[in-house]
């Protein structure tokens, strides 16, 4: 525990120091502290993954009382994610914020909140005390709120930040309610006692309450509305950190309470699964409809949270039906995908940030041709795209594969309903995968390939090396985890085993020799991936050999006999996604139909569309509007008339006096 606390302390200290130094020195100060701190944290986490659980107990005054900090295998996984993701974000921020220096904006406390966000997440995963947990949890929300508010002169940013803070507050209150009920049951604020205090019948509603609270942070549909607003509003290092790491804290919370509660009834598993499938499918569908690169990525976070949730759902089913394989593979897949998503989503957001700084635009249809102007960014972004689509040989595939295996084991649950659910989950996940391909071929094809579609894209320039460095590192991780997944599997398996209530030994036995023998499968996949890379290399060699003597001409793109294709004639992102979006149009409320072209030779025609989520269009907005309207209807209460005011008091007095007289004797 000592290196861990030391690391956290060091982090916090650098944050405080960053407040005191000048604008230009901040990034250096923070990085100087963050590097050793990350090292300490990773060391502490690795120690726990391979050795005993670390714990520390302190006693504080009322109302906290005894509080313990525990670093167990589950926490350790998250610690690694936070530490690595945090460091990447901080390095990237060093480059990203450079372009804001000297623009009249004060960066001020931005670094401090960046560090505070990392620190609060580091605390969330080890605290085992209800009140302290909530405090750390809210600090996390607050610090990220201030980070989102960075470009606060923009109206959208203000709206997003407000929405974010309020949504988080609502989430907090679900958690408060759940924690309060649990603490009343347990007679203690110690999270470890919460689990034991809850019996079977009440565990499900309590779990749902917790799921609501944590699910808002994680961004499950329909609790996701803040996500597509906040992520684009925040600067990219923040979006990367929030989407890559912070929303995982919601997952952590859910997993932590699954661990505390032990086996939950199957309904909980089915419910989580249903929400997750919805999130995954709708998340990707909504993503396809987006024009803004970062909004699109935000919806993909919803999708991936859904995928992680599918794993959790299967893990819960496995526990409920006492099927070792399903439980382990479900939780294992969820954890693995959680790690992977933190890597490639960070990479993608950083890439989007590089594009934004390079072109000053995030609208996909205004980009284009960036691959030749921002070569490194383009290459790294491609890695992220492939990884998020779950395509070989990157890490996204491996975790989805583990999830598929878990679902296929779902047939062993010995329950027709579970079987049907498993098959549909497999199908849904496949649908999500193929739609992700649609989405990211759109993004990559339109934004990075082809010719520049606007003057801004024409003037694009490569990003600062401080931004490319963390992106490269994350891309390398994508590839590394994809090629050698078996290396990290034991740590994940340990956490998954703990979650599903098996001893580490039993899980190891299961993974090594049991029906799944996951490690050996992953080894085969690893070999196949190497073969894939080898084949590509080989074919490249063959191609070079074949063309050695031949001419390779360069010409304009073939325009089917018409005049050469100009940049404005390229297929747009909207058109690319159009066929599919028309198919799913019932899921949207469309605004702005294209204007009809009437004349024979129309001079100007304009068409713009904006798709709004059904939830926003038919639930959130009407509710908020109704609330406002309802409030307006009551403003006569405070009319300014003094006599009216006095009447209120007298009437109330009359009612109470009647009450007293009525209940007298």
């Amino acid at each position: 525990m000592e290196p861990y606390l030391l690391g956290v302390g060091l982090y916090l200290a650098t944050g405080v120091v960053s407040l005191l130094v000048g604008e230009r020195a901040k990034s250096g100060v923070v990085l100087a502290g963050a590097l050793p701190a990350t090292l300490l944290l990773v060391v502490a986490a690795v120690r726990v993954m391979t050795g005993p659980t670390a714990r520390l107990s302190i006693v504080l005054g009322y109302p906290i009382g005894a509080a313990s900090f525990v670093l167990d295998p589950l926490s350790a996984l998250f610690v690694v994610v936070i530490a690595v993701g945090g460091l990447a974000s901080l390095v990237y921020a060093g480059g990203y914020l450079r372009s804001y220096l000297g623009t009249g904006r004060t960066i001020g406390s931005h670094w401090f909140f960046l560090v505070l966000l990392v620190v609060s997440m580091l605390l969330v995963v080890v605290i085992r005390h209800a009140i302290l947990f909530l405090i750390a949890w809210e600090l996390m929300s607050l610090s990220s709120f201030f980070l989102v508010l960075f470009e606060n002169e923009k109206r959208e940013v203000q709206r997003a930040a407000l929405n974010y803070l309020i949504t988080m507050h609502v989430g907090l209150f679900f958690l408060v309610a759940a924690f309060v009920l649990l603490s009343l049951k347990a007679g203690s604020f110690d999270l470890d006692r919460f689990g034991r205090a809850v019996g079977a019948p009440e565990s499900v509603p309590l779990f749902f309450l917790l799921f609501l609270g944590f699910g808002i942070k994680a961004g499950f549909i329909p609790l996701h509305s803040w996500l597509p607003l906040a992520h684009p509003a925040a600067p990219s290092h923040v979006s990367g950190l929030m989407s890559g790491v912070m929303i995982k804290m919601g997952i952590y919370g859910i997993l932590r309470f699954i661990l505390l509660f032990g086996a939950l009834p199957a309904e909980a598993g089915y419910a989580v699964l249903a929400v997750s499938l919805l999130s995954a499918v709708l998340g990707v569908i909504y993503a396809i409809a987006q024009h803004d690169l970062k909004t699109l990525l935000a919806y993909h976070s919803v999708e991936n949270i859904g995928i992680i949730g599918i794993g959790i759902g299967f893990g819960l089913l496995g526990m409920a039906y006492r099927n070792e394989g399903v439980a382990l593979l479900g939780f294992g897949g969820a954890l693995f995908h959680m790690i992977n998503h933190s890597i490639f989503k960070g990479l993608l957001f950083y890439g989007a940030g590089a594009v934004y700084l390079g072109t000053h635009s995030r609208m996909i249809d205004r980009l284009g041709g960036l691959a030749r102007r921002m070569g490194i960014t383009a290459a790294l972004f491609l890695v992220g795209c492939l990884a998020i689509c779950g395509l070989p040989p990157f890490n996204g595939f491996v975790s989805e594969f583990v999830l598929y295996l878990g679902m296929l084991h779902g047939f062993g649950l010995g329950n027709t309903f579970a079987t049907v659910v498993s098959v549909f989950s497999v199908t849904a996940l496949a649908l999500v995968g193929s739609l992700a391909v649609l989405c990211f071929t759109k993004v990559y094809g339109v934004a990075f390939l082809g010719s520049p579609r606007s003057a801004e894209a024409e003037r694009a320039h490569e990003a600062d090396w401080r931004m490319l460095l963390p992106m490269g590192f994350l891309a390398l991780l994508c590839l590394g985890l994809g090629l050698f997944p078996q290396t990290v599997l034991p740590s994940i398996a340990r956490a998954a085993a703990e979650l599903s209530g098996y001893s580490a030994g039993a899980a190891g036995a299961f993974l090594g020799t049991g029906l799944a023998s996951l490690v050996s499968i992953l080894r085969v996949i690893s070999i196949l991936f190497l073969a894939l890379l080898g084949t590509v290399g080989l074919l490249a060699g063959v191609r070079a050999l074949l063309l050695r003597r031949r001419t390779v001409g360069r010409t304009d793109t073939w325009a089917c006999g018409y005049r050469p294709v100009g940049p404005r004639m390229q297929y747009t992102a909207s058109s690319y996604a159009r066929p599919f979006l028309e198919l799913v149009s019932p899921l949207f409320k469309e605004h702005g139909r294209p204007t009809e072209v009437r004349a024979l030779f129309p001079l100007a025609a304009e068409s713009s569309t904006h798709s709004e989520e059904l939830l926003d269009a038919y639930v959130t907005k009407p509710v908020v509007n109704a609330l406002r309207a309802a409030v307006k209807r009551f403003t006569w209460i405070q009319s300014g008339n003094l006599q009216q005011y006095m009447l209120y008091g007298l009437l109330f007095l009359l009612v109470t006096v009647v009450w007293v007289l009525g209940t007298a004797r």
Binding site: T635, G640, N641, M646
Partner: protein, 214 residues
């Protein structure tokens, strides 16, 4: 057996009815003076014998403040601001009288009820004080001139004073004086504010004071 005090109390109650209908402010002030004096009598009657200090305090409270100083001060305010009549009450004079009588009746019912069930308090005091309090509130709610509100407030206070006479509970003299001082200062500030409002708003209607809302 009818005691002097009871007569005084009933007189006091009847004086209320006059206030509810009088459109002329100066008449209201005269009734206030009268009420102050009646209260003095009632209070002296309920004092234990040979309590000189108590007598002085009561005299200061009722004779000095309620009978003399406050009506005089309010008259001064009225004259300085040129207000003599209540412009238009929300409810016409006739119905005001009906309402006032109803309130008075309600007080008498309360007195009857109090006489029946609640031993330690003086029923007539109790009843009339209740109706006085209600009439005070009624005046405040019914009139629009701020001066009338002050009058209503003083009547309310008179009612409370009478209510405190209903039981033989004794407040320390310090407290009694404090209360009297509070009420006097309160009325004094009311007067000052009315003057200021007059100079800013040109009117002292309560309807003018509705800028602050929402």
């Amino acid at each position: 057996m009818i005691k002097l005090v009871d007569v005084v109390i009933i007189l006091f109650g009847i004086s209320l009815l006059n206030v509810t209908v009088s459109g002329r402010l100066e008449v209201s002030l005269k009734i206030l003076s009268l009420q102050g004096f009646l209260l003095f009598v009632a209070a002296v009657a309920s004092l234990p014998a040979a309590d000189l200090l108590g007598l002085i305090v009561v005299a200061v409270e009722t004779l000095v403040f309620k009978t003399a100083v406050i009506p005089w001060y309010l008259r001064k305010v009225i004259r300085e601001n040129g207000l003599y009549r209540e412009s238009e009450p929300r409810i016409s004079n006739f119905y005001s009288l009906v309402a006032g009588s109803a309130l008075f009746l309600f007080g008498l019912i309360a007195a009857y009820w109090a006489a029946g069930s609640l031993s330690p308090i003086r029923p007539l005091h109790f009843g009339v004080s209740i109706s006085t309090i209600l009439v005070g509130i009624f005046i405040i709610l019914n009139r629009k001139q701020l001066i009338s509100h002050i009058v209503g407030y003083i009547i309310l206070e008179n009612g409370i004073f009478l209510l405190s006479l209903a039981a033989a509970s004794v407040l320390p003299i310090v407290v009694e004086l404090g209360i009297a001082l509070d009420i006097f200062v309160g009325v004094f500030i009311f007067g000052l504010l009315v003057k200021q409002i007059r100079s800013v708003f040109q009117e002292q209607h309560v309807d003018r004071l509705t800028e602050l809302k929402g």
